[in-house]
Symmetry: C2
Subunit: 459 residues, 2 copies
């Protein structure tokens, strides 16, 4: 550990005075993290000018004066690529920004006037907002800490539905040939692990979210390291017999433990534990459009992910780390893909999906809120009258440049039953980002999310 | 820090019994690290069978029984890709293996019979050989630890020759616009740093070696992190005035310090300090063929690189770390590009080039040896008689598949003077790897290197 620098001490001081907030943004792949963070920074920078943030009292009351980017805290963490994202959004035609990889960070200095004026009146205050962006897949690794290698293997095999199984066909055929008791062959294990990683990547491509180990999807500098060369073994019982040293089984188990200790734990210790607030983005509509197995997979992934926020006394999280997140938001993104009157239904469905984890969280007294939003609104709602009936519709530009008028259909408010999937005609195309003319990015209820996540700090 | 595992303790025990050796291989880009390591592993695996290792006594005396790969020590370090390298070399036509990036590791278990038989006779022993491969560019960062930002900036500007300057033209024009005292603009600094990194990459493409900061060339997971977003500033004096907080100058200096503390030092502390032996590979012939500025650049880079092995009492290395490398080899690679009678001249030139650093090293009592070798021999020597005169020549297959007969010319034994460059006709084409028919890879004096680096451990 390095000794604290003058800046670290300043950070500490700011925190003491409640002038610093560390806000983390995550979501499973394609949930819209990059769009969310880009829009969030964009709105705060345009606050007091063009930004529409009526649901954020400090903005509505004209007390939010603006924000500027300053040098971030940890120089070794990549900076969130706000400028490249804005460049993509302002191209002709506009493009969605490139998704971020791994963790990134951005620091904003927010200027505001407090709600109650001090003795001198008219003074301004500053809030240092640290934004963190990290892959939700990393949170899916938490439960892995509660397992040993054998029980983790069994859990992976149980989660293998038919559509998901297809992605692992090559690996399944190959792993059947492996003798757990035979002396480990590094090259063979490496090849099998690569096939397993291919399965995970292909499943993610197909939209599956409940994928472990999370680092296999984004190895970064660990590419080719033995710690990423393990996989679940079929048919392991409770480990009644200790595996022979140097066997395949012993080698896989050793790598699994290394992954727990040197990959999963450090993320929680060095990053996660330091977040004050968190928003989790969920592409609920995408899963709904993709069918029952994908939807169930998302439900399972979210259940797993929520464990990282369960600070109940007996929770894994609380036993291993001392977390401090004091406010949590779960947001269904891409709300601009349904017509406005569906938005409450979208939140209801999100809450139904998360019923169990939300119960745990509330029991553990972690304040949590479900939201629906579109960080960058790509459609316009429209009423269409046909034969005397008025129906809500959406107008937007598809990725191929075609103008489209859509009737996306109805969002179920409860977990969909079997007949929903047979009769559903949920239309969920990908839209091109809107053309921006100078001002702030258009959004849907991003201000409500901001109010929940940092409104109290701007009082 | 994690607690020591059973394996760590076994490692410690093996070291105590002198049964473990940590051998590091490095070299500047294109020096042939991957070929060297691949061939080294290949020779040891074929030892006792087809490998020709007559300069290694244990092999000559039939005591070297072979080697097999075992699970490496640190699972978080990528494994050296021996199998992919051999696959490339055994393709039709053979290809040179892909260069490695960053650090990688491979562990071999060597079986041998000791030279003196014990009481029971015929017993075999094992030596655990840990091989490490890392970019020589990282060693070029050591002197950076002896600088503050201002003196480092000046040193970078001094090293800017005309051919090298060309690669930095875009950056030079842009950095002239930067006001050191102005408040830092993150985006501007990021763009300038990217241009500087482009300059470094383009200079390396052109064969320059003396390039700092080394991590700019291989950022890995640090891509986009502010710690890689600095560069030398022109016209800095000795820092008589302290830069204003938040200014460009203060920001650049802060990042420079972070780079020193969080990038350079950890490499030395966590990896370098643990190496027992080291071989540094140098493409001396390539620099000789490329002309005087490239040759001078290589000389400067090697001088810098050697500082990491200078364990004299007053050396930077000794003051900062407690190194333990007890034997060092410097090898001019690709010796198969000159005819056999030139090899002693090649070693002489290498020693002339390194005269100053070698003097320091010998003074500090670090055993060091200069060698010439070809890890994978791609040519056959041949005598050609024309009009009664016999000249040495080389026969090999060029990269494009053409058979070539070459008269490479003479290697100077002293540092070349100006007239060498004007009259030299040094021919240095790239050859295709040889076609391997089963056995060990053909080489030139790799066994001599092995003898120096690990022969004493096989007695």
């Amino acid at each position: 550990m390095r000794p604290p620098s003058a800046r670290d001490l300043q950070d500490l001081l700011d925190r003491g005075r409640d002038r610093q907030l560390r806000l983390a943004v995550t979501g499973l792949s394609r949930a819209g993290k990059t769009a969310f963070l880009t829009s969030l920074v964009n709105q705060l920078r345009h606050a007091g000018l063009e930004a529409r943030l009526d649901l954020l009292p400090a903005a509505r009351e004209g007390r939010l004066l603006g924000a500027r980017r300053v040098d971030q805290g940890d120089l070794s963490v990549p900076r969130f690529p706000y400028d490249p994202a804005m460049a993509a959004l302002t191209e002709t035609p506009p493009r969605w920004p490139e998704p971020t990889r791994g963790i990134s960070e951005l620091r904003l200095l927010i200027r505001y006037r407090p709600a109650r004026r001090g003795l001198l009146g008219g003074e301004t205050r500053q809030l240092t907002l640290d934004l963190f962006d990290y892959p939700g897949e990393w949170l899916l690794d938490l439960p892995l800490l509660g397992h040993d290698y054998a029980s983790w293997s069994r859990a992976q095999w149980q989660g293998l539905g038919p559509a998901r199984r297809e992605h692992f066909a090559a690996w399944l055929a190959a792993v059947a040939e492996l003798d757990p008791a035979a002396p480990a062959e590094e090259a063979q294990l490496a090849a099998l692990a690569e096939r397993y990683a291919e399965g995970l990547r292909s499943a993610r491509e197909a939209g599956f979210a409940d994928l472990q180990p999370g680092r296999f999807l984004l190895p970064g500098d660990l590419e080719g390291a033995p710690v990423l060369q393990f996989f679940p073994l079929p048919g392991l019982d409770d480990g009644a017999t200790k595996p022979a040293p140097g066997s395949n089984l012993a080698t896989l188990a050793r790598r699994f433990r290394h992954y727990q200790q040197r990959i999963v734990k450090p993320f929680y210790r060095e990053h996660f534990r330091r977040f004050d607030r968190q928003i989790v983005l969920v592409d609920l509509l995408g899963a709904l459009a993709a069918g029952p197995e994908r939807f169930d997979d998302l439900a399972r992934a979210l259940g797993t992910l929520m464990q990282s926020f369960d600070y109940g006394k007996r929770s894994l999280m609380n036993r291993l780390f001392a977390p401090r997140i004091d406010r949590l938001a779960i947001a269904a993104t891409k709300a601009d893909h349904v017509t406005p009157e569906q938005h409450p239904r979208l939140v209801a469905l999100l809450e139904a999906l998360l019923a169990e984890p939300l119960k745990e969280l509330r029991f553990a007294d972690v304040p949590v809120k479900g939201l629906s939003l579109a960080a960058i609104r790509a459609t316009e709602p429209q009423e269409v009258t046909q034969r005397g009936t008025t129906s809500p519709a959406l107008r937007g530009t598809l990725l191929n440049g075609e103008e489209a008028l859509l009737f996306p259909g109805e969002v179920p408010v409860r977990l969909p039953e079997r007949d929903f999937w047979t009769r559903q005609g949920f239309d969920f195309p990908a839209f091109r980002p809107p053309v921006i003319d100078g001002g702030a990015l258009p959004h849907l209820r991003l201000d409500a999310a901001l109010d929940w996540l940092l409104g109290d700090k701007l009082q």
